[in-house]
Symmetry: C2
Subunit: 156 residues, 2 copies
């Protein structure tokens, strides 16, 4: 489903996150560190359940309550973004400088979520921001369709 262990996809983000947490007066607790480390290894947004499973697999289980609490802190600091892909559960991913900006493609059939980027789309959003006088607005684009493998299956 995603990076197995140890390979930080966003090393700069991980460091920034730890510094920001320290500066904000948070202590370096085990649960908090584990969540930050895990998020730094993910190429795309994870659901809380997935996050907990991955943490448990590496013998660093964290309680549900702590996961939600840590994610909330990180979101408030602008380090994590909550992504709603339309299936009733929230997903979370690292965001901000040091992390590639991307949007999401959601498969209507298997529910898989994949990241994608598009220059033209970003330009259109930038122009739109000017028109609507939005400063620093976050944007999130979700496109729903059948993913490659599911489109294949339904074609049979």
């Amino acid at each position: 489903m995603s990076a197995r262990a140890g390979i930080a996809v966003h090393p700069a983000w991980a460091e920034r996150a730890r510094n920001a947490l320290t500066e904000a007066g948070y202590r370096r607790g085990g649960a908090r560190s584990a969540v930050v480390t895990l998020l730094a290894e993910q190429p795309c947004a994870l659901a809380v359940a997935e996050l907990m499973e991955l943490l448990a697999e590496r013998d660093r289980a964290v309680s549900r309550a702590s996961v939600y609490r840590v994610l909330e802190e990180l979101e408030r600091l602008g380090l994590v973004q909550r992504v709603e892909v339309g299936l009733g559960i929230a997903r979370y991913e690292a965001t901000g400088s040091g992390v590639g900006h991307h949007h999401h493609l959601v498969c209507e059939r298997c529910k898989r979520v994949e990241p994608f980027t598009d220059e033209g789309l970003e330009r259109a959003i930038a122009r739109l921001s000017g028109r609507l006088a939005l400063q620093a607005a976050e944007h999130e684009i979700v496109i729903r369709r059948a993913c490659a493998s599911c489109a294949e299956i339904s074609r049979r």
Copy 2:
């Protein structure tokens, strides 16, 4: 919050929805009709709670279970779109031909949801669809920022 009563913003949609339901073998029950009528009057997506309140105000209260069931049927028929704006609750709105295609601006402060349209964005999405080989993909764009009145307040 939205249209008060009786003024169908999407008359063509209402008729299409009723026909589609009939063709799909559904009977013209009271709850089903009430929900379709209400949705046809809304310029933007409603939460289930709002929908129930509006129905109750016009003395055509519908139970929560029925509202969810009707919305699910309509969604499956492609007549209604579920919109997740990132606050833990789903919103629903009429969609398809006869209804203006739009996206959503969500205020981070007061949680208000407003519709917006943008030609450049649509063109960018159309080009993107070609690139990703998506056929008939639905897209949904949510932009979060402070709305005009909230931006005003926080500036004081």
